[in-house]
Structures are given as C-alpha cells and as structure tokens.
C-alpha cells in the first residue's frame, strides 16, 4: 500500500514538475516582454503561485465545502452513512475518521477533500445518498477514501493551483497586450527595436496561447490516472467492485448537474460533474469515461490491484495503469465477496429519501414534531411559540 503511493507520487511529480516548468517559462518570457526583465516576471509568477498554494493548502477544503454548501453530520444524523464511512476507514487503514458532509443537491455526486489524511473530509450529495443501496454507497465511499489514502487530494489541489496560476497569468498578459501594449514596444519605437524583441514577443504570444492548454492536458492526464487508481483501491477495500460499478451506472444515467461545481472543483468529484459529450472528451476530461470504468470494474476476477490491472489491460490492450511496485507488493489472490445489501434489510428508496430529508431539515435547524394524526410537522428555526397547531387535525402539539 505504501509502495503504491510512493511510486504514484514519483510519476505524478514528474508531471507536476512539467507544469511548474511551464509556469516558469511563461513567467520568464512575460517578464521579458512587459517588464524588460525576466526575473521580474519570474518573481510575479512565483508570488501568485505561492499565495494561491498557501490558500489552497490551508483553506482549500473549507472553501470547497462552503462553496458546495456542505453540512457536516455526526453519527446520529445518518447512522447508515456514518457506519459505511467508518467501515471503509477501517478497511483502508486510515488513522483518523474523516469528517462527513452532506450537500443538499439533487445531483448525484460525491467528493473527498482535505490536505492530508489527518484533515480529510468526504462529502456526498443528498441526491446520491437517496439513490444508492448500502453496497453502492460503500463503493462510492471506498473510492473517496482511496483518494484520501492515496494522497490524491493534495496532489490535485497543488496541480489545480499551478494550472490556475498559468491561466491567470496568460489571461491578464493577453488582455494587457491587446488593450495596453507592451512596455517594450513603446520604448522600441523611440530606440528602434531589434530582431530579438520580435522573437521574444512571438514566443510570449505562443506561450500565452498554448501554456494554458498544455497545462490543462497535463492536469487532466494526472486526474484520470488517479481516478483509475481510486477505483482499483475502492474495489480492494470493499472486495466488491460491483457496488461501485452499479453506483457509477446510476450516477452516469442522471442528467442533473452539480450546481456548485466549476472547472476548478471538477476533479474532486467521483464522476465528471459536467455532462457534456464530445469527440475530444477523452483528452479534455478530468475523469475517464464512466462506461469504461464500469466495464473494467465488472470484468475484475478478483479484488486485488493485479485483477484491476488485468481487467484494464483486457479493455485497452495496452500498458498497465497500476504502478508496477503496487502489483508486486500485493501478489496473492484476493477473492471477491457477495452482495451484502440483503443482509442489512434493504431500505426502499422512499424510506431512504425520508431518512436523508430528515437529516437536511435537522441540519437547517428545523424542529420536527410528529402529530398524533400521522402528519410530520417541520417547525422553522425562527418560530417563537412553544406549541404548534396541526394543519390537518387541528390538535395542539408541544414543541420540545
């Protein structure tokens, strides 16, 4: 388990360094172009990057959770969800129980966040919570816990900061160039420019256009790799790839987009929150195609990394997706288990919907009173009286 993290880190770090280099080259040429000083450009790029990194590192999770209007829950709020997270925490060997959040959103999605395994959170939309049975929920949570365990969250947020810096720099530079002209070109008019300036300008323009695109492609490549790995780890933790596969099927058949998702937060989700379809989807997507992920999961003959890798290779006829070290470390057959849901006395969808909406009402500080006639009354937090009349039977209920 540790080898796999380490080896992944090595490969991903090379890609991250590539992005970093891209940022510095961009800063260098923009500096030459606008400030007549390459160091100046580098320093500006560095300052933007450092500020954004620090924000992302220390505030990233709380920003993300507050943008998505996530509410933290405890064991009493939703015992089923809490138990599933706790089981997956145990199965993955995480040291600390992650915080659990529910997002009040009918869309079907989930994400994990937090800079390290001690500050981790899992969030799930209320829509998804209602739709999934226990095995499917377990699959989704296992996938999210894998992101935490494999340290994907930190890696991806650092990547998105690099990407963001490159995009911001190029955007402002191109605006300044279009509307303000460069410092150099103004001076050039009086002193007479040389061929070197022209070349610098050309390189800067090319970089402005292509650096964001390249950075995005690298970013997407890293993100997709992490998704496959999280699927593989998820299958290993649950011993039941079908759970995740069937959850993904439900998620992908839904047409509702996550309201609070944007480009920056997209890779955090279990499935691409944007449902656009197009030819270039493979290259320009943070997630591998869902149909393919499902196919791989369904064709696994065991629960180990080796089995996932084999299933991946059967579908792609190419290289491995799981790092070599992880494969050798986990040699030994790991059998799949059978479905667990019946054992738990499956709640039907209606009950699950009620269970989830109860949590949401409570989190919004509504009080719930069950009237004798069977009506459930929701009392808003601003209500001042101590008793409330039931609209159906007219009896007076005491508020606790």
């Amino acid at each position: 388990m540790w080898e796999q993290i380490r080896s992944n880190r090595n490969k991903s770090i090379i890609l991250v360094i590539g992005m970093g280099l891209l940022l510095f080259v961009l800063g260098y040429f923009l500096g030459l172009l606008f400030l007549d000083n390459a160091t100046g450009g580098l320093i500006i790029a560095l300052i933007i990057w450092v500020i954004m990194s620090l924000t992302a590192y220390f505030q990233g999770d709380s920003i993300l959770l507050s943008i998505s209007k996530a509410r933290k829950i405890s064991r009493e709020d939703h015992p089923r969800l809490y138990n599933v997270v706790e089981e997956m925490k145990i199965a993955s060997g995480l040291e600390k129980m992650p915080d659990i959040y529910i997002i009040d959103d009918p869309a079907l999605n989930a994400f994990a966040t937090g800079r390290d395994i001690k500050h981790a959170s899992v969030a799930i939309t209320s829509g998804l919570l209602q739709k999934l049975n226990r095995d499917e929920l377990q699959g989704v949570i296992a996938h999210e816990i894998s992101h935490i365990k494999n340290r994907d969250v930190l890696l991806m947020s650092m990547c998105s900061v690099l990407l963001g810096t490159i995009v911001i720099l190029s955007w402002y530079a191109s605006r300044i160039m279009l509307f303000g002209g460069t410092g150099r070109s103004r001076r050039d008019r009086s002193s007479g420019g040389g061929g070197a300036q022209l070349i610098i300008m050309l390189i800067a323009i090319v970089l402005m256009i292509f650096a964001p695109i390249f950075a995005k492609l690298i970013y997407f490549a890293i993100s997709r790799k992490r998704e496959y790995l999280a699927d593989a780890s998820g299958a290993l933790y649950t011993r039941y790839p079908e759970g995740l596969a069937s959850a993904l099927e439900k998620i992908s058949s839904s047409e509702i987009q996550v309201q609070a998702a944007n480009n920056a937060t997209a890779p955090m989700y279990i499935d691409n929150p944007f449902r656009k379809k197009g030819a270039a989807q493979n290259l320009s997507s943070t997630h591998p195609p869902t149909a393919e992920r499902i196919r791989i999961l369904r064709s696994m003959s065991g629960a180990s990394y080796v089995d996932y890798n084999q299933a991946y290779k059967n579908i792609h006829n190419t290289h491995s997706i799981i790092p070599e070290t992880a494969l050798t470390a986990s040699s030994g057959a790991i059998p799949l288990r059978s479905a667990q849901s019946e054992k738990e006395g499956e709640l039907d969808e209606k009950k699950q919907a009620r269970e989830t909406s109860d949590v949401l009402w409570r989190l919004n500080e509504y009080k719930t009173v069950d009237c004798g006639c069977g009506v459930r009354l929701r009392v808003p937090p601003g209500y001042r009286g101590t008793e409330i009349k039931c609209p159906r039977c007219g009896s007076i209920n005491q508020l606790k």
């Binding site: 138990n83 060997g93 738990e344």
Partner: protein, 187 residues
Amino acid sequence: MLAVWIIIGIVVILAIVFVSTYNGLVGKRNQVKNAWSQIDVQLKRRHDLIPNLVETAKGYMHHERETLEAVTKARNIAQAASSGGVGARAQAESELTSALSRLLVVVERYPDLKANQNFLSLQEELTATENRISFSRQFYNDSVLHYNNKIQMFPSNVVANMTGFKTSEFFEVTAPAEREAPKVSFQ
C-alpha cells in the same frame, strides 16, 4: 586507489539499501501491529455487547436456554482466548460468530423480543460491530500479506533473515459457512 573508492562506494550503497529495507520492514511490522489492535478493539466491543444482548433476550426466550448458553459460553471462551495467539483467537471468535448467528436466527420466532427497543438497538450495534470486525480483519490480512511478501521475497528477505523478522499469522475464519457475518435484519 580507484579500486578502494569503488569498494567504498559499493559498501555505502549496500548500507543505504540495507537501512532503507530494514526501515521498510519495521514500518510494515508496525502496520500489522496497528491492524491487529484495530481487530482487538472491535472484538472487545463485541464481547461487551453480548452479556447485555443475552440478558435482554432471556426475558423473552424461555425455550432457548441452550442457544443462549452456547452464546455465553462461546463468548467466555473467546474472551479467555484474547491473550492467546492469532490462530487460537480466530478459532474462538469464529465459533462465537456462529453461535451468535444461530441466536439471531432463533430471534426471528419471538416477535415480542423483536419489538423491544433495547434489544433492537443492541442488535443494530452488534451488526455494525460485525461489519467493522470483518473489515478490520480484511485490513489486518492485507497488511500481513504485504509484510510476509516482503519477508519472503528477494532482496528484502536477506535483510529480514539477518535481523530476525518473522512472518505473521493470518486471521482466518475456518469453516466456509462462518465466513459471513450473522444475518441480522433492521426493522
């Protein structure tokens, strides 16, 4: 002179490899220990739950003294085995699991008991604990697998033999019928 430097270089590299392999083994051994203590916590939790469960069930199940006694007995044996080795413990615990599952099958015949709030919450807690036991056992066995692989595979086996690392025992449930946690249903 050059040969001396080459030899020194090789020795230094070997030392680095040795130390890092050794540290890796220690890390794996600690993970196994940590995983074991996770199982331990959950098994103890189960031992604590059972007397309450049996006590509550006794009031309703007048004709099932044997089943109840079997659970209590299995629980006491399992608790006594707590200080023993992995194999003995796994054996005792799997017997407890099967005694429990027999009890929970019988419970279905007592609707009054199934309506008892106290019993219901105990049963729910027990199911959650059973799940946690099976996942902590899974993590323990995964950790043991990695640790044992490291000890037996070249080149880390050389270091392991020199420094006296021993393979750990899997926590295995013996009979195939007992692999599954007792069938408990929430109502």
